[in-house]
């Protein structure tokens, strides 16, 4: 929190002020495009850019009543729901052996696990396309997109839950064993309740990633449209304020979900305490 040194010579004080100003400028620059995107979506000017001629909600109204947007939203949510379910269940179960067991090459797996996160979506998309179409001769559909996105989102859940398990005080599980709980009772009464916030955060995270994912989905979903694909195809015809509005809505949804995911551990704790107060009162 504090400065490294509080008492400064004059030269040092000037240098610090300059650096602070510079950093603020950088931060502004980093966030400017996003801010402008949102700004333009409220702009009455129908070219979706400066000058701002007035404020309007018209583009939002247009977007919300567009049947193409409706279809895209429905598909996006359907895919996201399936991806979330798969990632949460598969990811949680896969996180346990990563932290707990004597799985061979455990450290190796952990590093390699970061790969699907690091590997460009383009390559995941390409390789899954090769696998599904050229090898399995499957028809592309929502389901192939779900599988493709899950390959990308599951590692996030694994890492989140594994991090929580890593930080999990093993003594708690030993204490439960010591007090007579068998493996399943330990899991149900001690471990799962305590890692639940991480699972929930992982699920929310997977949901958000799925909402926003473009390239893997684009390769694998066939003729269907998700919201990012809708935005992409619209942009090809030119930037319109309607697209800005759709993009802003997608952004708002994603940010809200991320905020909830970050705040989750505290929310769960508070809810639990409230329940406790009621039950013991």
């Amino acid at each position: 929190m504090a400065h490294d040194v509080e008492v400064l010579s004059r030269g040092a004080r000037v240098a610090r002020a300059l650096l602070n100003g510079y950093a603020l400028a950088i931060y502004l620059f980093l966030f400017a495009p996003i801010v402008l995107l949102v700004l333009f979506s409220f702009n009455a000017n129908r070219y979706g850019t400066f000058p701002i001629t007035g404020w309007t909600l018209e583009w939002y109204r247009a977007a919300v009543s567009d049947y193409q947007v409706h279809g895209a939203v429905t598909t996006t949510l359907k895919v996201a729901a399936q991806v979330t379910l798969i990632s949460a269940i598969v990811g949680t179960a896969a996180a346990f052996p990563l932290v707990r067991s004597r799985l061979p090459f455990r450290e190796g797996i952990r590093i390699v696990l970061i790969l699907p996160i690091m590997i460009p979506g383009l390559l995941i998309g390409v390789s899954l396309l090769v696998l599904f179409v050229s090898t399995f001769h499957w028809q592309l559909s929502e389901e192939t997109a779900v599988i493709g996105q899950s390959v990308y989102t599951t590692p996030f859940v694994i890492l989140l839950v594994a991090a929580r398990l890593q930080g999990f005080d093993n003594a708690l599980e030993r204490a439960a064993a010591d007090l007579g709980a068998n493996t399943f009772q330990r899991l149900r009464r001690v471990v799962l309740p305590l890692i639940f916030p991480a699972i929930l955060a992982g699920a929310l995270f997977a949901f958000t990633l799925s909402l926003d994912e473009f390239i893997i989905t684009y390769f694998l979903i066939g003729a269907n449209n998700t919201l990012p694909i809708y935005i992409y195809t619209q942009i090809k015809f030119g930037i319109t304020p309607e697209v800005n509005a759709v993009a802003s809505l997608l952004l708002a949804g994603s940010l809200t979900l991320l905020a909830v995911a970050f705040a989750l551990p505290q929310l769960v704790r508070r809810a639990r305490r409230a329940v406790m107060r009621v039950t013991t009162a």
Binding site: D169, A171, L172, R174, A175, A176, A177, D178, L179, G180, A181, N182, Q185, R189, V190, P193, L194, R272, R273, M276, T280
Partner: protein, 362 residues
């Protein structure tokens, strides 16, 4: 070097009371955490496993508790062999170093957890949990969450939670390590009282020699996966069997010496009294409070490099050619204190000069 003689017939059933570890070895990969441990703990005693970190004391506790499987050897508790039983089937309960209270359960639920697992009816378990909380003086705290308690209170909840199951053996893994000195001293007295009240065998792990000495009936001093000495606090303090034990329990001064009968010759040529025992090269150990300044016959010469008033005693550091490090002398308050730099003579009675195997400084 345990004082418990090995049983004549290795296959005979051990004594039905207490805990019996027989030839227990624990390897982690190629590393030996325990190198063949034979240990009998009597029913109802307050037993301490004492040693520095890595000496194997916690591994021993974990073996008894069932969290760790022995590589070799047998573990018997009250006449029943337990080394293949998982922890939830052993008649022992543990107070963990971190307390390991379940953070998502209230204090009462924590204490009742063990009874719930045993399918004790709810009304009975509530009553017994309240009793256990009473034993540690926390009747009023049942509805609190663990995070709302102080460290000392959490420690007491952990004791109550373990004792509520009425185990044959209570294992305690440095349960006071996280608390400050004054609180630790108070809880030492409390734990000893609880031990007398419930009559259960306590096996207590610590690296703090004062803690071990203040509570234990018997202490096993461990080092490098073995028991180096086993006995009452007084036996160990007065008659350490090795330099390691002498250094670990209490303060001590060491001299390289050549012993003949009850006389030890030090590197500077001075000859001092000692308890005797072995002859030839040896390490001579003398406690700071056993040294007399301005000694008579058989004294060694030195000069004072530090005098510190420490309240209950005055600590004098004396540099002398007879020893590598300054010799520490503890004077009782009220004794004549030499000045800094003053030359002094040191001596002690023969019984206070303990002769040990020769060995390098720790």
């Amino acid at each position: 070097m345990t004082t418990v003689p090995p049983l004549a017939d290795a296959d005979s059933r051990p004594d039905t009371a207490g805990i019996d570890l027989r030839g227990v070895v624990k390897q982690y990969g190629t590393q030996a955490a325990l190198r063949g441990l034979d240990l009998q703990i009597r029913d109802g005693e307050f037993f301490c496993l004492l040693g520095p970190s890595g000496c194997g004391k916690t591994t021993t506790l974990n073996l008894i508790g069932g969290f760790v499987a022995p590589t070799e050897g047998e573990i018997w508790i009250q006449g029943k062999r337990v080394d293949q039983l998982p922890p939830h089937k052993r008649p022992v309960n543990t107070v963990f170093q971190s307390y390991a209270l379940f953070p998502h359960m209230s204090v009462l639920e924590n204490v009742r957890f063990g009874l719930k697992m045993d399918r004790v009816p709810r009304d009975v378990s509530s009553e017994r949990a309240a009793q256990a909380l009473g034993l540690v003086g926390l009747e009023e705290f049942g509805s609190r969450m663990p995070a709302q308690l102080s460290g000392g209170q959490q420690q007491r909840v952990a004791v109550a939670r373990a004792l509520v199951k009425r185990p044959a053996v209570l294992l305690l893994d440095e349960p006071l390590g996280a608390l400050d000195l004054k609180l630790r001293q108070r809880l030492q007295i409390e734990l000893a009282q609880i031990h007398r009240d419930v009559g259960t065998t306590f096996v207590y792990v610590t690296h703090d020699q004062e803690e071990a000495m203040s509570m234990a009936d018997r202490i096993a001093v461990m080092n490098g996966g073995r028991i180096e000495q086993l006995g009452t606090p007084e036996e160990i303090y007065r008659g350490p069997v090795s330099r390691f034990v002498a250094d670990f329990i209490g303060d001590s001064n060491f001299f390289e010496a050549t012993v003949e009968g009850a006389v030890a010759q030090l590197p500077d040529g001075s000859r001092v009294a000692c308890a005797g025992g072995r002859s030839g090269a040896a390490t001579l150990m003398v406690r700071p409070e056993a040294i007399v300044l301005h000694g008579g016959d058989g004294s060694i010469a030195g000069h004072v490099v530090q005098t510190s008033f420490l309240g209950s005693y005055i600590r004098i550091a004396v540099e002398t050619p007879a020893a590598g490090a300054p010799v520490i002398v503890a004077l009782r308050d009220g004794a004549a204190v030499p000045a800094l730099g003053e030359g002094v003579m040191l001596s002690w009675t023969a019984a206070d000069g303990v002769v040990l195997e020769p060995g390098p400084a720790a």
